[in-house]
Assembly symmetry: D3
Homo-oligomer: 241 residues x 6
């Protein structure tokens, strides 16, 4: 029995609220249950130095947590003077995941920065960030399309969403919340495209090692969850994508 | 005529949403029009080193802005490795303002950190932060009172709220939004208690110097605005304070 | 009775020693009693990036304290790796105050940096720095005028000086020294031009809130003190300004 | 055809040179072909603050690269003032992997730091570091056993080794070198115990997404490679483990 | 002919002004011509962690330059966030030099920090700092003796002073000023005790290598100069030392 | 009697292993007994900003120590976020020493960075680094000569090598190892050219001051040792230099 009473293959209630921010070219407040992440996509007419005059654009991501997004207050990274290894690891993952569905030459020499800021955390912040970040990115491209800068369909090659799975009390379960995450024996994150292709797999044994068979069960759960998330992305973005 | 069509002495629509955060001991999402600041109050059973064994507690504040809270994306302070002078100035102001209505010995040797994170900015973020930060602080003290740790009435000596005023197109106006703030000749922030005592005055000539007479007009406007804000705080906090 | 036996409206002995530094284009060692600040003005033929090709110049300030300028040795900021919030707040104030009397287009695309380094501290370092920084700035402009780069009268629109006031033992007093500053109930800094216009007001209740009436008394004291300081600046700078 | 002419399931020549360092309690120079990593294990009689008085020890890892370990010189991290996200990600992975085979209570309240410094890089530095780091750790425990501090068999619950796999020119291959790594469509790192349990899986699509079937082929290759690496660890460590 | 018209073995005018600072336990404004360094000695009743409970004290030095001490303004180290290699090298030299004449056990478990801040620079700042730092240190010990904490004679084993020499236009000269220093072929700094013992020698070929014979000429010059400096220290400190 | 049983004027076994690194344009693993330093020379087609369009090149050095190169593990400088004063002092010395035998205009507008990383330390790391760094530099120039970029003989004006000497148990000895270095009364480092010219002398009294006579004995020892080191450099570099 999961602490949340969910079935093993059941997502938390998910919502994707577009246009949450007045200023950003694209934005989405994504909620996976009590995990709330504000994703904004910001367009800049410049690229990193190593892409200058390449004809290619760039998509990157940054990740942060408000200090009291969690049960105990964490030190503000701006005050401590550096981003933790965990923060850097997560923002690198978000960036790679979004770039996997973007045709960088079609974007042109521009950079889109997707900021994912965790307003409230209850496990799964990185998977929520990828899922909501995609919506913000798609809306940023729609904003550009409305200004005849790109065609969104040319830039985005697929949808992308992410979910965590784990082995909790010996059972494979989908979409870990914090009480599950902090005690799971095995914890894995999956990123997949709308077409079912795998973009990233990260599985970690927190306690005992896991077997190939257990891993395949997690992968199957993830596929089911990501299909549902992509369906919600399609619904949120309407006929537009 | 103000860009927002407001009368010269008219506040923007203000809202104070308590208990916005699931984890914090006290929290408030404060909106001054399109300026939205999430304030959380976090209790810790420790004080800074210089207060140890003093019998006194401490209230401090930290301030941050999401990178795309503004019209142009700003660099994330955690990534640049330090807080700007502006950020430090604002968080010092918020801390001083809140401490001005707190009886530190009555708090006991504990620290309350009020984090004020700007989700969306349209001018006046520091005054919204002080006004909403007070509500978060009051709720944190209510949380403590419910656990018989303190009596909220003993700790809080008054309400505190803040507002900006300025001279815009030659006229004194209350509660500057960003279009006004960026072109005002004079810009002043006022912090006052519920009893009308002045806690902090900061007035700056952005263009031509201002006169004592002009300054007194701004002070009168501020008094009116702060009275209204304190009334809203009272309404939000109910009979509790 | 003030610890220094001064009358309530009496400045400490003030001196302005021009050309203290052999290298700087303008310099002034300013003393407000035992508070000694060395101000140098350095000219550079470049402006910050955001002013390039604007035709406008820039005046900025930096502030520092020698580690043993104070009663207890403070940690050297260069060793701790960052400037404190207090340092940044003060140097931003000095820069704003000086720019308020400078016609930036008349300066041309050049930057003048006014460094204010506290050799010895006894309260009021920021007001001494503004008052002496103006003399260094004026001499830097005289240096430029001697080389036919600008006309000093075109660049400087007025004099500027600053003083602190406070409520000490219930009485409003002018130009707080450290023993007063550390125990004053209310502490305010005023920056005004030679023509009596107000550039900056910063008033803070250290203990109980203050009233409008008290504040007006401080403002009147400040006006008297700044008039005296500007007279000394005129005397120091001679017929030149 | 692989650039190195290796068969698809063939490791590079691997060597594990124990006792490379005169000072460290355990050390191993590990070579996977032209990738050379010096691993040292350092024992300290202290634990991180959050483990004090817990009766448990800690194993952690740090990772670095000499500036010219690579084809182009990289900036020295000590000079740039921070470790890159990549460095932090790798050292966190090494630490997790080694801790997965350590019984922390059996270690007692002590910390072992495994430093993995890349002397020369040709792809696969993190997998070499885990494989060699285990040997250094085992020797550190032998050093402790010789001093009757622990029994090595009690502390180490299994062997641990790691290898990369990828899809290169459409074919799954084992142990990518740099020319393969920089052009592979998919790149995955696997960490497993001597008993075949999975500790960590990290798979990333560099170009097109990959399928479950492709992933299973990589996993099978990895299992073969890790079995061979563990056999070499056993041979290097002799009857001792 | 030297730019300053001095004879080859002639010091610049030297002055040692004691008690320059109101707050420090000992202080000295030392001038070697246009090089002016303010040295303060600060006593603290604590020692670095590695000396705790050793019964020994510590003497350390810090060095800084005001940004416009030099012909061109240098970036403020507190603003750039770190001390340069040159700064660290110099402050380590000053500390070693002063400790060479201090009996650390006789000092007791206390730390004296000698801050050497360059107000104006014209070459030879480190040698002026050592020479003036000794006077500040001696006065700090006199302050302590007046409070019966130590006997100054027990703590100080000798005087210490320092001077630079160099080969300028082919001739060995004493006490380089900036115009000489910046073009000298060879530049050497010498630190000696009042009894003529050598504490530190640093000689550097700026252009062509130098010979042993040339070096011995510099050493002889240095001995003469340091004898004169020690005589001035004796005169400044009076019968007290 | 020296701990190592060496005669007073005897070097430790020295080896210079060229081409240790596969990637660098020049490299040398130098061993002075148990002190092992890997030196790599990296060529870049750019110069520091202040040399742009000067027609001159630059040679610089960086120095690092693996954390467990020493008896006790030291904190990794990349993790602590800055290079120690000692590290900066040493790398500045290495750079100056190598530049002393380089004709910078003959190098052309290019930079060679010599990285000296201490793999294992037993005293004398800076002298080993200079001695081995010269071999790496010479090989980098040979690499350039093979590509017709420069003539090595034009760029290198001499050999350069370095050695430490000290007074140990009252006797002058050559090439201190760590047990000697940590207890020597006087410690000096000498850098000389192949022609016997002196480039740098650094002598420090660790305990009692030293006399001119003692210093000359150290200088004589150093000359003997450096002659032997240069002979080994000649042998290692063959007829090529």
């Amino acid at each position: 029995m999961r602490p949340s009473k969910r079935a093993g293959d059941q997502l938390r209630p998910v919502s994707l609220e577009r246009n949450f921010s007045r200023h950003a070219e694209g934005s989405c407040l994504v909620k996976f249950g009590d995990t709330h992440v504000l994703c904004t996509a910001s367009l800049e007419e410049r690229v990193p130095g190593w892409l200058r005059n390449s004809g290619k654009g760039w998509v990157t991501a940054e990740y942060g947590m408000l200090p009291r997004a969690t049960g105990d207050r964490m030190r503000r990274e701006a005050a401590s003077g550096k981003q933790s290894g965990r923060t850097q690891e997560i923002q690198r993952l978000i960036g790679r995941s979004l770039r996997a569905v973007v045709d960088l030459p079609a974007l042109g020499e521009r950079q889109i920065t997707v900021d994912c800021d965790v307003i409230q955390a209850d496990g799964g912040t990185r998977t929520a960030a990828i899922t909501g970040g995609f919506v913000a990115l798609a809306d940023c491209l729609a904003w550009m399309e409305a200004r005849a800068m790109v065609k969104r369909k040319d830039v985005l090659t697929s949808h992308v969403a992410a979910i965590s799975c784990g082995i909790y009390n010996g059972e494979p379960v989908l979409d870990l919340d914090y009480p599950e995450d902090s005690t799971a024996q095995t914890d894995a994150n999956f990123v997949m495209t709308g077409a079912g292709g795998i973009i990233e797999i990260q599985g970690t044994a927190e306690g005992a090692p896991f077997s190939e068979d257990e891993f395949l069960k997690l992968l199957a759960l993830a596929r089911k969850g990501i299909n549902e998330l992509v369906a919600m992305q399609r619904e949120a973005l309407g006929a537009e994508l």
